[in-house]
């Protein structure tokens, strides 16, 4: 029981990192924005509580893939912590993306084999 949850969490975790990095490619954003963006883009498919983004964001920051700064939101007087993709993060995104692609292709080849290969 425990073991299974852990595995899917790991899978999700890795994916989540990639999604966050990809989102930040559009420009700096704070946690709320990132969460909303991912939810909206997946048509609310990922039933993700955006609080769960924060461990990922902090982990990415520790690794130096994103950097953060408190800034006032445009048009408001409130300060948010904005995350921005670093050069290292950009490279990491490329790596993760290609890994994901390979993975998805591998899974796809098993699930939906093309006629000449079967």
């Amino acid at each position: 029981m425990t073991r299974q949850t852990k595995q899917s969490a790991n899978l999700l975790q890795g994916t989540l990192d990639m999604l966050v990095l990809r989102t930040l490619l559009y420009g700096p954003a704070h946690g709320h924005q990132i969460g909303k963006h991912i939810q909206r883009t997946t048509n609310e498919f990922l039933q993700m509580q955006h609080g769960s983004l924060y461990p990922a964001l902090h982990r990415l920051e520790e690794r130096g893939w994103v950097a953060s700064k408190w800034e006032t939101a445009p048009g408001g007087n409130r300060e948010f912590k904005y995350y921005r993709l670093t050069e290292k993060g950009r490279k990491q995104l490329v790596v993760e993306e290609s890994q994901w692609k390979q993975m998805a292709e591998a899974v796809a080849r098993v699930m939906w084999p093309t006629p000449e290969e079967s």
Partner: protein
């Protein structure tokens, strides 16, 4: 982010999460939700903030530190909640670690640290070595070297890079500007000694080869005398001071750290040959030199030594009628310096290690007891998902805290204790260099962590060992619970008691041996006799008549002082050491076969009243009279031991002793006196007494028997001496009792230290015993209540509980006695008239332990027997 910014980082995260939540809430409100609904919806969309905060913390790399700090905080709080326990545990640790650190400091400086000389590893001491086992038994296997032997070794062998020698001396240092005269301790060292050791003068220079001759008149000062007597004025170098009335030029001051060969504080150095007659330098049979040699880099010690040994054997064959050893033997310089302290230090170190073990076991025991009361907390924590490592870590941090607090206190304690130990321990080699340094602190830290692990790990493992379900079940029923923990406590206690028994037996043996030494009859009056040393400078007292005149008028003056019952004059009093000895032959006996062991006896001077003043009985013949002077007639008095050994079946009175060094003549035996001990702890040696009025000018000792307090006489007597010769200093104003005490100082110190450790251990063990039994009693309250309700007698309950507590004590006692059988080997060589398996000591230790154990068990057992069954069952 750096680790010290944890707080800031945490606040930052809170702010971030809050702003997100607020934004979400605001969006929900904009979508038309009411205030309350908006908050709930926001929380739903966001997730549990506490959980998220914790998960985010876990993503930080500083998580381990955070956990550590948290455990640390909890531990501090837990410890502060039971201040009594914490205080005792810290105190135990402080005492144990403090004592261990102190002793290690001393051991390191004295036994382990290399000497502060150039390449100290290649320095050795070379001694003459007699092969006769009877002689070896009394420490003549490392015999001082004679000057001619040393000269021949140095010139005829090439195995050593160089050889240097030093000898003991003392001088009357008289003031240049009216300061009081004083007798200063001196060493005469050959000119090459300092270059060989690699020691340079702090001011000025060391001796040159041309200064090292019999009429050499240069002197070096040690730092202490330079500071005290000469006010640390560097201009003293090049000036003259007067030693024994002769001018000596100060050529240098030795550095402050230089304390070879021992830590004698006030000392001067003169060249080795200075003051020796050229004739004396040619003697093969006067042994008074210590020879230091430096090995050549490519020559082994055995090769170098065998060369010297070959030369020595030749010398022996050439001097068969003189005490010239057949062989040589060597020691390293460190061994040589530590010879008297190595054994006691080792014993003390073992004792202190034993005590440290007991202390740790005791703290472990206390922790086990506490973990029992915290069993529910631990169970709940593990049921909620705490990992076993986390729980163990928490407990270890607690014991670490105890050990660190105790350790820091202990190290502070040891600073004072080390100072005390060094000043109390007489003649501790390199005493001045004993100090706490990095290595000592590192060892103290290691001790602290070892103690924390030892005392924390066992209880931590045992208290977290069980599955949570079993633990919950067990803790719901107080009667059946904690079997394994009880066993653990009992075995800890058994080891603790065993170690205590070993310590007690060691202490008991040392103490008994010390008591035997202390109560030895030395063979003369001790408490009522004052002694006082002086030596007449040969320049001023250059004829026997002058020496005799001084001595006789001093005796006459002292005798008339009020409070003086008797006064006499000798050279060396009983208890003050062996010092001079000489060989003799007996003209009435057939000559000794060449190569046979030579007759040897200690050499003493005595005035006519010497024996009656010291109350040494005359066995036959007569004492000296005032007419036994200037060698006319040549008379000698012998002691019983000499008479027994060399005149076994004849009357020695009227026979003669032929003594070479002091006149090469026959001395007629006129009396036999009873034995005295030259040193407490040694057997009486053959002794010959010559008349003090023979004009021999060696060191004199005035002995005065007082009517009441002998020390009150010291000032009047010194005033009489000053009237006769104001330039003459006196030394060692002591009663014989004090001389004996001084010679036993170190035996008394090690005996009382080991005893202190043992008593402390006994207290610790009894506290442990008491704790275990109280714990057992509380655990079994319900069971005992049931027993009493069912009709058990109070006496039976008492017996049950006592048996429970005394069993580990008994096991520990048996184990301890068994270990002691091996451990007494260590102290065996230090015992005097005490057998290592002394049944009285073993019995006394066993009895003491049982009584203390019974006492410690009695209170909880009695309390258990008083249990009110109704109340006991109700608390269930």
């Amino acid at each position: 982010m750096k680790w010290w910014q944890i707080r800031k980082r945490s606040a930052d995260l809170d702010r971030e999460l809050r702003s997100d939540l607020e934004l979400e809430e605001q969006e929900q409100r904009e979508n038309g939700a009411s205030v309350d609904e908006a908050r709930y919806a926001a929380l739903r969309a966001f997730g549990n903030p506490t959980l998220i905060r914790e998960q985010t913390h876990a993503a930080w790399s500083s998580i381990w530190l955070e956990n550590l700090l948290r455990d640390f905080r909890i531990s501090v709080r837990t410890l502060l909640r039971s201040p009594g326990f914490s205080f005792i545990a810290v105190l135990v640790m402080a005492l144990c670690i403090g004592a261990a650190t102190s002793l290690f400091t001393v051991v390191r400086s004295v036994l382990l640290r290399p000497l502060p000389f150039r390449d100290p590893g290649s320095l050795v001491m070379v001694y003459e070595h007699f092969r006769d086992p009877a002689i070896n038994a009394v420490e003549f296997n490392y015999n001082s070297v004679s000057p001619a032997d040393f000269r021949d070794w140095r010139t005829k062998t090439h195995g050593f890079e160089d050889m240097a020698a030093w000898r003991y001396a003392h001088y009357n240092l008289t003031g240049e500007h009216g300061e009081l005269p004083e007798l200063v301790d001196a060493r005469a060292g050959s000119w090459n000694l300092f270059p060989m050791l690699g020691v340079k003068a702090a001011i000025g220079r060391t001796f040159t080869e041309s200064e090292d001759r019999p009429d050499g008149n240069v002197v070096m000062l040690t730092w202490n005398i330079f500071e005290r007597r000469f006010g640390a004025d560097p201009s003293i170098v090049g000036r003259q001071i007067h030693l024994d009335g002769k001018p000596f030029t100060v050529v240098g001051v030795l550095p402050k750290w230089f304390i070879y060969p021992d830590a004698g504080l006030q000392r001067i150095w003169v060249p080795y040959e200075s003051g020796m007659s050229p004739e004396l330098l040619n003697h093969h049979d006067y042994h008074f030199l210590r020879v230091v040699a430096r090995l050549r880099p490519n020559v082994s010690l055995s090769t170098a030594l065998s060369q010297v040994g070959a030369v020595q054997y030749q010398l022996h064959m050439q001097n068969l009628h003189a005490p010239v050893a057949e062989d040589v033997a060597s020691k390293t310089l460190t061994q040589d310096l530590a010879k008297d302290v190595k054994k006691p230090l080792t014993i003390l170190l073992c004792a202190v290690a034993c005590m440290l073990l007991i202390g740790c076991l005791n703290v472990a025991n206390l922790l086990v007891a506490r973990s029992a009361t915290r069993q529910k907390e631990i169970t709940i924590r593990s049921a909620l998902g705490a990992q076993r490592m986390t729980l163990i870590r928490g407990q270890l941090i607690e014991s670490l805290l105890i050990a660190i607090t105790g350790g820091v206190a202990g190290v502070l304690l040891s600073l004072a204790a080390t100072k005390w130990l060094v000043t109390t321990w007489q003649n501790l080699p390199s005493a001045l260099s004993v100090h706490t340094d990095g290595t000592v602190l590192a060892v103290a830290c290691a001790l602290i962590f070892a103690a924390a692990l030892l005392s924390g790990l066992l209880p931590a493992i045992s208290s977290t060992a069980r599955g949570s379900v079993a633990a919950l079940q067990a803790s719901s029923r107080s009667g059946a619970g904690s079997q394994s923990r009880t066993t653990m406590r009992k075995s800890l206690l058994t080891i603790e008691i065993a170690a205590t028994v070993v310590l007690l037996i060691g202490a008991g043996l040392l103490l008994k041996s010390f008591w035997q030494l202390r109560t030895t009859n030395i063979g003369c009056a001790t408490t009522s006799v004052l002694t006082m040393g002086y030596s007449l400078p040969a320049e001023k007292y250059d004829t026997p008549a002058k020496v005799n005149a001084f001595n006789e008028s001093l005796l006459d003056r002292v005798r008339t002082l009020p409070g003086v019952n008797a006064a006499g004059l000798g050279s060396v009093v009983p208890g003050a050491g062996a010092l001079e000895d000489d060989i003799f032959t007996i003209p009435e006996h057939p000559p000794l076969t060449p190569g046979a062991p030579l007759n040897d006896a200690m050499y003493r001077l005595a005035s006519p009243d010497y024996f009656s003043t010291l109350q040494i009985p005359l066995l036959s013949g007569r004492f000296f009279t005032r007419d036994d002077r200037d060698g006319r007639p040549k008379t000698v008095i012998i002691n019983k031991r000499l008479a027994r050994q060399f005149f076994p079946n004849e009357n020695p009175i009227g026979k003669h002793l032929h003594v070479v060094p002091y006149g090469d003549a026959d001395y007629q035996i006129v009396g036999v006196v009873d034995n005295t001990l030259y040193q407490v702890g040694q057997l009486p040696g053959p002794t010959m007494y010559f008349p003090v009025l023979s004009g021999n000018n060696m060191g004199f000792t005035l002995v005065v028997r007082a009517a009441s307090n002998p020390l009150a006489l010291s000032v009047p007597i010194q005033m009489q001496i000053a009237k006769l010769d104001p330039q003459l200093p006196v030394s060692d104003v002591l009663t014989i009792e004090q001389i004996i005490q001084q010679s036993l100082g170190n035996a008394s110190l090690s005996a009382s230290l080991v005893l202190a450790f043992a008593v402390l251990s006994l207290v610790l063990a009894s506290v442990g015993l008491y704790g275990v039994l109280s714990y057992l009693a509380t655990q079994r309250t319900a069971e005992i209540g049931v027993r009493i309700a069912l009709g058990a007698q109070r006496r039976q309950v008492l017996r049950l509980m006592l048996g429970d507590g005394l069993r580990p004590a008994l096991y520990g006692l048996v184990l301890g006695l068994a270990v002691s059988v091996a451990a007494v080997k260590l102290v065996e060589s230090m015992l005097y008239q005490t057998r290592p398996f002394d049944p009285a000591i073993f019995a006394a230790v066993a009895a003491t332990l049982l009584v203390v154990a019974a006492g410690a068990c009695l209170i909880p057992a009695w309390r258990a027997s008083r249990i009110d069954p109704m109340q006991a069952l109700r608390t269930e």
